[in-house]
């Protein structure tokens, strides 16, 4: 396997890592926001 073919796989991996981190953070923030809103409503 050539250097650039390995780099292509590494680039895809990094894409997945960043996308996962972004999605995880958004889920965390939105969950906290929903909880806070429900507590305020009570």
């Amino acid at each position: 396997m050539g250097f650039w073919k390995i780099m292509n796989v590494v680039a895809w991996g990094l894409c997945g890592l960043i996308a996962f981190q972004l999605i995880a953070d958004v889920v965390r923030v939105e969950t906290a926001r929903i909880k806070e809103t429900k507590e305020k409503e009570r």
């Binding site: 650039w4 780099m7 680039a11 894409c15 996308a19 958004v26 923030v29």
Partner: protein, 465 residues
């Protein structure tokens, strides 16, 4: 409005305000970083329309347009220190419908530019090896820059300072590698390589729109007005130094490329500066220009993400679009929903592969904003004459800059009509349909009290209102 209501809205506004962390250097980086990519590709299409000399004249005439634009926007931006730039100005000076259109135009100007940057990054990397797949690198660039923007403006624009500085440095290296200062050893052969004005004055008019590539987006500096430590200092200094940087860079770029490449080859080049570097046959210069081209694309996309998301956030905060986008991240204090919402749109347009169409729509959106900006300046000086309000910066010789701005923008649109009239028609149809949607549907949800609250607390009642 009741006093208590106003206080409540002001407190709410203060609580959701963006962090004030930016200085003149960040404003310079935001302005130049978005625009510098225009020196590395695209501007040379003006040679097809107007010849070598036509492209140079277009570069300088459009430089005058942007000097006027920066003067006008900086004066208004230093008085209205609110996120959104020309959008915020339209909000207070023209009303909700015009503000909605200006906001939408700004968002599309920057999102399209971001898509074009992504396209170019993919194309450049493909030249490294036939094994390189453009897709993962394009996605990685956009995701990494989005991640940086998501985590904070200060880190994002600090990165832009580095990227922009390196990209500008590579242009300087290319310039000095040609030994232009020595008549005997200079590599530049301007007389032999250029083709003058093959299509006369009409060619210059046609080249105007590509002259915009050198400067398109510099007006984005006012979008970060709300995040400046001292708006009245950072905005004028950052914007004016940025514009001077671009004019010097644009002239050097034309000089080097026109002296190293024949006009026919330069007109059809995808990467004119990189091709010019190849013509020097110096490996170090060639490698540096490759890096410079990639970094300028990344810096441009980085600035575009920051600008587009702030305009989208500002529109949502004012209830012109659904307010789900008007939320700041609890930890990073960035408009994270707007940043993430615009990412797939940029990716989608980037993968149409239609670089000239994407960029023409970006330029058209920008030109329409410039027309409205000129009109806003006339209205602004009538509503707030000199002495009636404290200005961080005053545009000299008013109304000359405004008139020049309006005349040159109209001339550029006329030149664009010759080759891209379908783009003008479809762009205008899009904004017309969006306006119809706003008037019929969205205007019902407009919260007028919060819409004008910040301005009501900052600005005195204008004359005649």
């Amino acid at each position: 409005m009741e006093k208590t209501d106003l206080t409540h809205v002001q407190e709410k506004s203060k609580a959701s305000a963006l962090h004030k962390t930016l200085g003149p250097l960040h404003i310079w980086a935001l302005g130049v970083g978005v625009v510098l990519v225009g020196q590395f590709m695209g501007w040379n299409l003006g040679i097809v329309k107007g010849g070598s000399l036509g492209a140079l004249i277009a570069c300088w005439v459009i430089g005058i347009l942007y000097i006027c634009l920066v003067m006008v926007t900086t004066e208004m931006g230093s008085v209205i220190p609110e996120s959104g730039g020309q959008y915020a100005m339209a909000k207070y000076l023209l009303g909700p419908l015009a503000a909605f259109n200006v906001g939408l135009m700004l968002v599309f100007e920057y999102v399209m530019l971001e898509a074009a940057d992504a396209l170019v990054v993919g194309e450049i990397l493909k030249t490294l090896s036939p094994d390189v797949h453009a897709l993962p690198y394009v996605l990685l660039s956009l995701l990494a820059l989005t991640w940086l923007n998501y985590r904070g403006t200060h880190a994002t624009l600090s990165l832009n300072i580095v990227l922009t500085g390196i990209a500008f440095f590579t242009i300087c290296v290319l310039l000095f590698s040609t030994r232009f200062y020595s008549a005997e050893t200079s590599l530049l052969r301007i007389k032999e390589m250029t083709n003058g004005l093959p299509y006369g004055w009409m060619g210059i008019l046609g080249a105007f729109q590509f002259g915009c590539w050198f400067y398109l987006g510099i007006e984005g500096t006012v979008l970060a007005a709300e995040e400046c430590r001292s708006t009245s200092r950072a905005l004028p200094v950052g914007a004016v130094v940025g514009l001077v940087t671009l004019i010097v860079g644009a002239t050097a770029t034309w000089f080097v490329c026109s002296g190293l490449l024949p006009a026919g080859k330069l007109a059809g080049s995808v990467y004119p500066l990189f091709d010019a570097a190849m013509a020097t046959h110096m490996p170090l210069v060639i490698h540096l220009l490759f890096i410079g081209t990639v970094l300028s694309c990344l810096a441009s996309a980085n600035g575009c993400i920051a600008d587009a998301s702030r305009a989208w956030y500002a529109m949502a905060r004012d209830t012109l679009i659904p307010d789900i986008f008007a939320v700041l991240h609890p930890k990073y204090n960035t408009p994270y929903r707007a940043i993430l919402f615009l990412l797939p749109i940029a990716i989608a347009f980037g993968f149409t592969g239609l670089l000239d169409q994407v960029v023409t729509f970006s330029i058209l959106s920008a030109l329409l904003v410039y027309l409205l900006t000129g009109y806003m300046m006339i209205k602004f000086r009538k509503m707030y004459p000199m002495g009636s309000i404290q200005r961080g910066y005053t545009a000299p010789l008013h109304p000359l800059p405004t008139m020049l701005l309006l005349v040159l923008t109209t001339a550029t649109l006329a030149g664009m009509y010759f080759g891209y009239w379908i783009n003008i028609a479809s762009g205008c149809a899009f904004y017309f349909l969006a306006s119809v949607w706003f008037v019929i549907h969205r205007s019902r949800y407009l919260d007028v009290s919060s819409y004008m609250a910040t301005g009501a607390s900052m600005l005195p009642r204008p004359r005649g209102y």
